[in-house]
């Protein structure tokens, strides 16, 4: 394995195709031409980095980071935690993760969201953190509610948290979503179902983690994110016994 070589190509069998007609918004927003393949240059191998100094003390606590002093967001309190890794199972340290979500009633604090569920005056719906040297991250929040969305039918999003991930190179940039184990809407949602491989959907589904659930306080959910690795060939795999 090489630390400075190109990133492995995107595994398109695990990624949603651009055009997914059941998700109506993709119909006019999916490019029709094939993507042009590129040999990665210095700019794809490097990427922006963000130090701890951009992170405030409550940025990873959505229960209080928008609340009035002494107040808290309404809803079931949870912790979400896990590891940011690459395909070689190596940690991705010092990477910025940003997350955003609807409140416990399924309403976003956004000018364009007019769903009937009320806004929670003490919930903003965004947070961020930087992974540690092991790629570990954690944050506290309230469990988001499912919400309906206009897609031509009776479509409801499963409860979810959006994640924006920076890696160590521009080629690793990723935005994805985290779902919750056992949510029946996962099967029904045209956005989730843009992903062709059911195993890839499972990997976006956080598991209840009783080991880190704190009695009488909050439940923990475990969610790992895997970015593209670099310089991994089949031959090297065998050598290292992965």
């Amino acid at each position: 394995m090489s630390d400075n070589g190109p990133f492995n190509s995107q595994d398109m069998s695990l990624q949603p195709p651009a055009l997914t007609p059941d998700y109506r918004s993709s119909r006019l927003r999916a490019p029709h031409h094939k993507l042009l393949s590129l040999e990665q240059g210095a700019g794809e191998l490097a990427g922006p980095a963000f130090g701890q100094d951009v992170i405030g003390p409550n940025d990873n606590n959505l229960i209080i980071n928008y609340a009035a002093p002494g107040a808290a967001a309404i809803g079931e309190q949870i912790m979400v935690h896990g590891y940011l890794l690459d395909e070689n199972a190596r940690p991705v340290p010092e990477a910025l993760l940003e997350f955003w979500q609807a409140n416990a009633g399924g309403r976003y604090r956004h000018k364009k969201d007019s769903y009937l569920a009320p806004l929670d005056p003490n919930f903003g719906g965004c947070g961020r953190t930087i992974t540690d040297e092991m790629g570990y991250f954690s944050f506290r929040t309230v469990r988001p509610g499912p919400y309906p969305w206009p897609n031509g039918g009776n479509d409801w999003r499963p409860a979810h948290i959006h994640f924006s991930c920076f890696g160590q190179g521009w080629a690793q940039r990723l935005i994805t979503q985290m779902y919750f184990e056992g949510d029946p809407h996962i099967q029904l949602c045209p956005i989730v179902q843009t992903i062709p491989d059911p195993k890839a959907i499972e990997r976006l589904t956080a598991r209840l983690d009783m080991e880190h659930t704190v009695p009488m306080q909050f439940r923990a959910f475990r969610f790992d994110i895997v970015l593209r690795g670099r310089g991994c060939t089949l031959f090297e795999n065998k050598l290292e016994g992965n």
Binding site: D11, Q15, S25, L36, L38, D59, E98, W100, A171
Partner: protein
């Protein structure tokens, strides 16, 4: 390889809450500072330019909920040489016409690659973020590997920003249709 890459999911129409909070109406989040508001720290040497344009869908309508990220070399052709996030910026397009505006420094060529700004586009309806590049019509493009690889001159022109005025360039992004921008699998 022992792990599989996580699948992408659309950034959705509310990406601004997480990435440009002040645009979503959360003005006081994070001390009122959106990450990537300024692409370089002050006093980095280089020629100041402004790149602006709009994002359009396949019907020719402006895309009003896109978020764009930009990543570029500095005036000496180096990436990441001006502070940890220097050379990186992020913009929400405006809700009226899908317009963006980036005040930056003209990048220099880097190796074989002609001077360009990398762009990443996410929005509702985009399942996997789209990479493209902004080249400049009044700079030499030499044997840039991407431009050379695009045989159709009409397609190639979708990556070239047009000079407009003293310090300005216009670069529109078409997700689909006759003028569809060339997108790149990096």
């Amino acid at each position: 390889m022992s792990h599989s890459q996580s699948a992408s999911q659309t950034a959705g129409p509310y990406v601004h809450i997480g990435c440009t909070a002040s645009v979503a109406g959360l003005e006081n989040m994070y001390g009122g500072c959106d990450l990537g508001a300024d692409i370089f720290p002050p006093n980095v040497p280089g020629q100041k330019i402004v790149i602006s344009g709009q994002v359009f869908d396949g019907a020719g309508d402006p895309v009003l909920d896109a978020m764009l990220e930009f990543w570029q070399a500095d005036a000496t052709g180096r990436y990441g040489a001006n502070g940890p996030s220097g050379g990186w910026a992020r913009r929400a397009v405006d809700a009226e016409a899908g317009r963006y505006r980036l005040e930056t420094l003209l990048p220099a060529a880097s190796g074989e690659e002609a001077a360009h700004v990398k762009v990443w586009v996410v929005a509702r309806g985009i399942n996997l973020g789209l990479h493209t590049r902004i080249y400049f019509d009044d700079l030499p493009q030499g044997q840039d590997p991407i431009l050379v690889a695009i045989k159709d001159p009409g397609r190639r022109s979708t990556l070239i920003a047009q000079r407009s005025g003293d310090d300005g360039y216009i670069f529109d992004i078409h997700l689909q249709g006759d003028k569809e921008t060339v997108f790149i699998n990096v």
